[in-house]
Amino acid sequence: MPNDWLVILPLLSLAAGGTAVFGAGAFWRSRPRELLFALSLITVAAAGAAVVLVAPQAASFSGVLDLGSYSRFFNFLFLAITGLTLLFVRHYARERGFAGDELYGLLLFAALGMALLAVARHWLIFFLGLELLSLSLYVLIAIRKGDAGSNEAGVKYFILGAVASAFLTFGIALLYAATGSLDIGASLGAELQPGALPLLMAALSLILVGVGFKISLVPFHLWTPDVYQGAPAPVTAFLSAGSKVALFAALLRFSLDLGPAAWSYALPAIWVLAVLTMVVGNITALRQTQVKRLLAYSSVAQMGYLLMALVAVKEGGAPALMFFLAVYAVMDLGAFGIVGTLSGTAADRDALENYRGLGYSQPWRAAVLAVCLISLAGLPPTAGFMGKLVLFKVVLQAHYRVLPVIGILTVIISIYYYIKVVIALYLQPRAAGTAVPRAEPSGVLAVAVILVLLLWLGLLPGSVLNLVSRIAG
């Protein structure tokens, strides 16, 4: 069908843009300075326009891709994340000397990988999307040549990411062996053969372990703080917002596809992982004195809340999860991105003492950072409050009692460490630390967009909530 090619236009434009950036980097030595940045931004804008304008089509390319409204929502989200990351990274990368084609090209290919994860209806597409995303991220994390932390973070993420991918691949192989189909929906929803139950359970647990590594569920989260701390701050923003949202979008779809019998086996595992992730993530964050590590544990904890709502996914929890994923992406991107704009060139601003008094010397950026933190803590009037509210609502509606109580207790604990940073920003005298770099236009634009989104989603969430319930319903 000729129509099919139009439907994958977002994916095609990302691939073409990435290739063009690499081509320009390799063959056009005397290019204008901002060419690669402009090219990537145009690519993201073009792909975004294609996502919005091309009519969704549920099954295309003989059912291998699904570009229906669910994928459309996530593709738009991924492109927004990539666009904001580009704005955050432009100045940061140029000052530190890594603003080459590898940075921009790999960002675009990582975005393509995320989009493939969301559209995949076949395990092969899922595998390729995951590897495209992971391989780009390995290089992006280690992109600061000569920086020991960046290199160490890259090696750590590579080793654990490669092991996780191998687990996932073996899980897919076992699933294929048990069900005889590589179609995601058909293989997960297959009727249980009497003899195939152990095989199917092994396959599902391996897939859960592999995905759990990538979205850093406890006990597979140990790489998270190290990698988030070592990677350059805008790359951390991209990693924590983009790759986690993409993997969770896939996990959400797997849960919806899973047949009732298999789902009844998966539920207790999800329940236990959710409790562990919420409790361990929040408690460990309490004693962090470095802001990037603190935010890393906070992002672990946020995944716990998402996993908590995943137990209610069969009782209409999907819209709440989609809404919170969008909110989570904005606030995590904002927090890490602003840490990046506040950092000097030698190292990222990490120690909590170095944030003292920034509320007065850098009022705008500190204020938006504070809004991001308040939103992560789940306090009104920000987007995080709305997101947590809908999450807890669906869990309660699905008649879970213990799980939301544990969740709310950990939310209360978490307020302490978020407020600790806000107090450092506003209520402590300015420390004689490193100088703060001046604000530059693209960073200011990104920070402003983050602020608007957080307040808009917090105060007037109706339109987005309607959108997600229409998509899921």
């Binding site: 595998f127 391989l135 290199n151 590579f158 092991v163 691949t169 192989a173 076992l174 294929y176």
Partner: protein, 101 residues
């Protein structure tokens, strides 16, 4: 198929466990990488066996993609490892202890 499918699965399982033990217990970065490769090949073996069992080509095509991706992974991984070996002069994973808290 001459060999029963369960034997293929058992062999793939053994290979996978061996690879996982190598990847998780060894401290040398190159050995970890080899362990990951063994795990991926175990997955490939299971896929080929399953493709024969279900009489489909899909599983075998998947294996070709796994081989290509594994090669890309090794290329990126070796570049990272060579670079850190030049920087620190060691391949021991335990020496990567800069980031902690």
């Amino acid at each position: 198929m001459i060999v029963p499918f369960s034997h293929v699965l058992i062999l793939a399982g053994i290979l996978f466990v061996l690879g996982a033990v190598c990847a998780l217990a060894r401290r040398n970065l190159i050995m970890i990488l080899i362990g990951v490769e063994v795990m991926l090949n175990a997955a490939g073996l299971a896929l080929i066996g399953a493709a024969l069992k279900w009489r489909q080509l899909e599983g075998q095509i998947f294996v070709i993609f796994i081989m290509a991706v594994a090669a890309a992974e090794v290329a990126v991984g070796l570049a990272l490892i060579v670079y850190s070996q030049r920087r620190t002069g060691t391949l021991e994973a335990d020496r990567f202890n800069l980031l902690k808290g």
